[in-house]
Amino acid sequence: MHSPELLKGTLQTILLKVLKDNGRMYGYEITQRVKELSAERILLTEGALYPTLHKLEAEGMLKTEVVTIGKRVRKYYSLTAEGKSLVKERVNELIAFIKTMGNVLQVELN
């Protein structure tokens, strides 16, 4: 499992990309999806997930809709137009970063 310290700077990028690929998602679904994609090596903690989601929402990157299921209320997140344009930028940035890290650490990345 990857350390949360390493994940810190990449969390926003992960959320934006996952939402771009899957459209509308709710919080728990996002954790499960990331867990699945990373073969259980990235476990998003709720303590980091929700504040980040709310922050992105406040910044206008995400929009939400609320669906009531019986006694429960489910909040779905999806990207706004602004958010969509941000995703590519963030992903490219991260890829460039990983490449740089490879050079710095003198390892071959495939």
Binding site: Y26, G27, Y28, E29, Q32, K35, E36, L43, T45, E46, G47, Y50, P51, H54, K55, A58, G70, K71, R72, V73, R74, K75
Partner: protein, 911 residues
Amino acid sequence: MPEAWGMWLAAFMQLTNDHIDYIIKDLNYRGIVADGIQEELIDHICSGVEMEMSKGKKFIDAYHHILKSFGHTGGLRETQKKVIQSENNKSRNMLKNYFTIAMRNLRKHSFYTFINVAGLSVGLAICFIILLFVINETSYDKHFENGDRIYRTKSEIKFGGNHYNMLYAPPILASALVAEYPEVEAAIRFRERGSYLVKRNVDNIKEGNVIWTDRDFFKVFSIPVIAGNAETALAEPNTIAISEKIAEKYFPGENALGQTLILDNKMNMKITAIYKTLPQNTHFHFDILISMEGLDEAKRLVWYSNNFQTYLLLRSGADAKQLESKFTELVVKNAMPQLAEVLGADFTMEKFIAAGNKMEYTLQPLSDIHLKSSLQGEFEPGFDMAYVYLFVAVALFILMIACINFMNLSTARSANRAKEVGIRKVMGSFRSHLMRQFLTESILLTFASILLALGIAYLLLPFFNQLSLRTLSIPFNQPMLYLIIIAAALGVGLLAGIYPSFFLSAFKPVNVLKGNVSLGMKSGFIRSALVVFQFTISISLVIGTLAVNRQLNYIQNKKLGFNKDQVIVIEDAYALGTNRTPFKDEIMRSGKMENATMTGFLPVSGTWRSDNPWWVEGRDPAVQENMVSIQNWRIDYDYIKTMGMNIKEGRDFSRDFPSDSSAVIINEAALKSFRFDGDPIGSKIQSFGSGPDGGPDKDHPISLTVVGIAENFHFESLKQNVSPLMMELSKRAEGPISFRFQSQNAKEIIQLLEVKWKELAPGQPFNYYFLDERFGTMYASEMRLGKIFGIFSMIAIVIACLGLFALTSFTAEQRMKEIGIRKVLGASISSIVLLLSKELGKLVLIAFVLAAPLAWYGIDWWLKDYTYKTEIGFGLYVIAGVAAFLIAWLTMSFQSFKAANSDPVKSLRSE
């Protein structure tokens, strides 16, 4: 994919409602309550639990597994906190921004900030004190449980040329009311007999708040009784109930119940109850209640003597108005036959009324006593509701003057801020942002002022208490205070800030940035109107204050018909016992005194009074026009000399005429009322003798021969006319002893008297007063009013001038270049000063024109209470107007001179 499968499966493994309820409750218990995150977390946890359960776990294990991934309660809360923070960030940033900019602006213009804060805080402090005062005044007697059912009787009696509106009622009224009307649950009477000397063992102490009352006192007034039985406390003669204060004074650390106090050296009174000392906001503060059972006077069944204040407790649901309407019938049935017996057989109710007479009883609710009643027989002076309104109005006016300063300075400085507004708008500020910015500034300013005002009020309260005779304090322990502070900061901040914020935020950026707007002094109409308003109020207050002071001066210096100065009155002379005359004689022998007299009938209110009907001998007393109701004073040979009254006709009493024991001296008012047929000197007047029961006896009239006519002298407040008065020689020596002294050294006189007193009346308290001081207390409330208004009007004008000062300095600043050019072209300093103060001077003039009629109306209203009033001539208005104008002009000229004196090189160099 197993995970996707799991999720799919989970969708079928729906949690039951019970499970969800359990989770909601548990999360609530752990403190997850914030809107917007609570529901989201519940859903998240539910989904997780479903997932775990689909793997075969039990609900409770699954739930705890998920909680663990959150980090239990701590982790949950941490998540909640972070979410809330991220949400708050945005608006808090804006607020912080408003705040920072406001602080910077206020600091940058510290001169204007100072003027605003100074004016606002003083205005608010005044408002705050007045608020406390008004709250106190309206809280009187509210603490009595049955307060809404307590009434007292008022008597209106018109007879023999006299008209009384008083609280004194006949001794029989209380019992008659209880007997006749079932809606009266209880009735009690009070009888004032002045102060008493009280002692436990040896030393006497003078107690003023002593009253005789009936046994039902505690039934009517719900005063907590600490010791003793409230119901039976005053049932026996020679018993008293005392306040806790008195109990602690005479029996410190002991149980006072059942002990004895001696009143006036002769009455042994057993203490049967101790009650809680009455709070300040009660219309009486009796410390010793004496049982009425021991008072013979109270047992008389007469209607023609009025000495008892009567209070009623009505049954719940009883209608006071309806009860009141039955009183006429009561008077006709019970009082009239008695009057007929006294006044003559052919007396009838019809004749009585036809002659313009009146005998009417009405009810006054307890709640009206403090603010709406000032009748003869009040226990303590109340306060006038009209003055409460007046105080509130003045306080609000002062606050408004301060707020106007704020408005005027903000809009006047608008030119300086116009650029700021323009740039902000260009950068994308909405009008609402700007308004919020300006409102933040004014609210911030107000808040600072309020804190300062609280401090000022705290420092001023002792002085105000001294002036108003109250014991107000700031209720720091009440949460209401803090609510009011916050509400006031918002309210006053909005009041002061709303106009400038509308005004400033309306600027068009294009014009402003081009430099087209020099709104500074131009858009002056509203500002001018506000300045006029400020000065109208200030000048009105100044005129009012001057008028009040002039009237008070007039009263103090009016020729009273006697000489109030240099007279000292020794009270409680009865404590001397048989040494009364030796005391007087020995003092006279010292040579320090001019004259001395012994009587309680003195020409200041609050001393003895007694009135009876008299008629000219030979006329029929049954004919009502012949009766003169007249003050009947019993004095001694030296009275007129001691008091310095003038005999207009005839002569003073003299020891050379033994016949003077049946002589009388009347005043001019009495002369007019009696309408003597021939020479008044030597005429005889008659009245009823007194029968064995103390009631009037018409078969044995007494007659007196008029030997002198005294010039009218004022023996009551100048609010009243001088009423008819007769003086005869007293049969016995009684009452206080008054000395007229020559020495300017009052201390020496007091010492002389005190030494002799201690010698002849050991163990008795020595009490004295000067006649002129007592005379002054008749007008004490007016004096206080005059002072309070003086202070108010001063504050109002100071705040108004502060504003004027700032406005002038601003104008001068704005016209710096103009002044420079004028000077270069040869303008003189005086012409520039004139130029600068002309505009504002005009406004003050307009204000004066508006204020004069306003003040005239107010003064007229106030003076209508006085029978003797001073002329408020045109001169007073001129004085006030000139004073206001001068103050305003001085304020302005300071700044104007500064501007006019400045070096034109400096102001023009920058071009």
